[in-house]
Amino acid sequence: MDSLIKLLKTNARLTDAELAVMLGKTEKEIADDIKKLENDGVIQGYSAIIDESVIDSNSVYALIELKVTPQSQSGFDEIAKEISQYDEVESVRLMSGGYDISVAVTGGNIRDVSQFVSQKLAAIDAVQSTATHFVLKSYKNNGIIINSSETDERGLVSP
């Protein structure tokens, strides 16, 4: 199972037939394994890893730290779920340490993100403070090395 997960993590587009050959299993076994991983919630979905800055060079990726007052009934859950509703939000995580909720925002330019933080996030009652960090450059994302310019230094043909 581990090697199946590892393969899908780096390339979710491999077909069941290809996975079966590589892992020495039958296609049916692979299909069953994947079904099980999906049912158990190990695999939550499949998505392409997009470099937004190629589409729009002004687009930014920001990580926002929120300090939040927990609510009496729901703790942090309700606020986290509320924040999750926004389209521009890519991930929402409850954190240990110096702040409470980490929000990743992607897609817009710097102004869009600033406006989103000041008008949407900061406006939520329970949010005490925000700290916005813009990502300057990504080197590795989801286990994939981004835009690696490393070339194969090995000779074309060797012993």
Partner: protein, 391 residues
């Protein structure tokens, strides 16, 4: 003008350049090639190992080591033999740390071979054995293994080539270029032939960690064979350390004693930085080796299946990182096939003949590449086969 043909060594002049080299030159002349031609890992050396080298430099460890190598490294190598093949070699006088498996091959052959001695070389095989035998004045004698035996050496093939002059057998398993291995029972049959003779064995086990079915077995493990075997191994393939130039040899101290003299006069001591790195490699990289082996194994399954689907028969290799598909069905020679493929589809593979005459009709394909790279290459080879079929 000086006539170099008169002043230079005849042996050097007559030595043929490697067939791999020749093909490299062709491949080099074409742009945007995608290669399946390399014999070295695509992984970077595990970071822990690189860190150990950097740290040794920071500490200023920049002087020669003992001729045989750092004692601490030899102790690790001794433990490594114990844990992998269950053999005991003394770090004091039965192990030498060499400049790659290459140097170990060189000095072990020179330690054993005298002018006129016949040396049995199991082919297809890595390219350096015969030229080095010739340098010692020995006579290389090919033993041709066959696809129907999965390129294993059989006792009959061996027996047939033994004469009064036979001094040495070079046993290269897991094999470059075929990916063949010798299992314990295969080795026992070979040992049976050798035990009553004075024939020595050099066992080149540089790919031992890349064995995909069960555990690697060394001929030195077989009853009566330790005293007549020099085992060669190294860091290049298993630890992805080709550029560090570090290998080692082990054998009975009566043999190693003399090899050490050759090493001392030619090399002094192997690269110090690499030796410090290698200690860490042996102490704490079992997981990394496992990770790389799993990855190669996946690619191996993929590529064997792909070639068989393309109609190029390919036996399932159990070792190293090569497959050796048969291209006889195309009606071309190995050389023709490889040249046409590289010119028309820009895919470089190595003709089987670079590894001995009996490699005719085969090509060596390395799978030390990412799956995506392999997929693209397979696609192009498929197109190539379609085109030649329609011509």
């Amino acid at each position: 003008m000086i006539d170099y043909n008169k002043v230079l060594s005849k042996t050097a002049i007559e030595m043929k350049p490697s067939g791999i080299r020749k093909f490299f030159d062709i491949a080099q002349s074409i742009d945007d090639i995608i290669s399946l031609g390399v014999g070295e890992p695509d992984f970077k050396t595990p970071w822990k190992i690189r860190e150990a080298a950097i740290s040794s430099l920071k500490l200023g460890r920049t002087v020669y080591t003992a001729n045989a190598g750092l004692m601490e490294l030899r102790e690790e190598i001794s433990k490594y033999f114990k844990r992998t093949i269950g053999m005991t070699y003394s770090p004091v006088d039965e192990i030498v740390v060499t400049v790659g498996g290459s140097e170990a091959i060189d000095i072990s052959i020179r330690t054993i071979v005298e002018p006129g001695d016949e040396v049995l070389i199991v082919e297809p095989c890595f390219v350096c054995y015969a030229p080095i035998v010739s340098l010692s004045g020995g006579i290389p004698v090919s033993i041709e293994t066959k696809a129907e035996n999965e390129f294993r050496l059989t006792p009959d093939e061996l027996r047939e080539k033994i004469t009064d002059k036979t001094k040495l057998l070079i046993l290269p398993y897991p094999n470059n270029p075929t990916g063949a291995i010798m299992e314990k029972s295969d080795l026992e049959a070979i040992a049976e032939v050798l035990r009553e003779t004075d024939i020595m064995v050099i066992s080149d086990e540089i790919y031992s960690e890349l064995t995909y079915s069960g555990k690697h077995c060394s001929i030195a493990q077989i009853d009566g064979m330790r005293e007549r075997t020099v085992v060669i191994n190294g860091f290049s393939k298993s630890f992805a350390m080709t550029g560090w130039r570090l290998g080692f040899m082990a054998g009975p101290k009566e043999v190693i004693k003399h090899s050490l003299k050759l090493h001392q006069y030619a090399i002094m001591s192997s690269p110090t930085t690499s030796q410090y790195a290698a200690i860490v490699a042996l102490q704490s990289c079992e997981k990394d080796i496992q990770m790389m082996r799993d990855e190669y194994n996946m690619r191996r399954r993929y590529i064997v299946d792909a070639f068989n689907k393309l109609g190029l028969d390919c036996f399932t290799p159990q070792g190293a990182f090569y497959v050796f598909p048969c291209i006889k069905s195309t009606g071309m020679t190995s050389d023709e096939f490889c040249e046409k493929l590289v010119y028309s589809k820009k895919v470089a593979v190595v003709p089987g003949t670079a590894f001995g005459k009996c490699g005719e009709g085969f090509i060596r394909v390395s799978y030390a590449y990412s799956i995506n790279h392999l997929k693209e290459a397979v696609k192009r080879i498929g197109e190539f086969l379609e085109e030649i079929k329609n011509n």
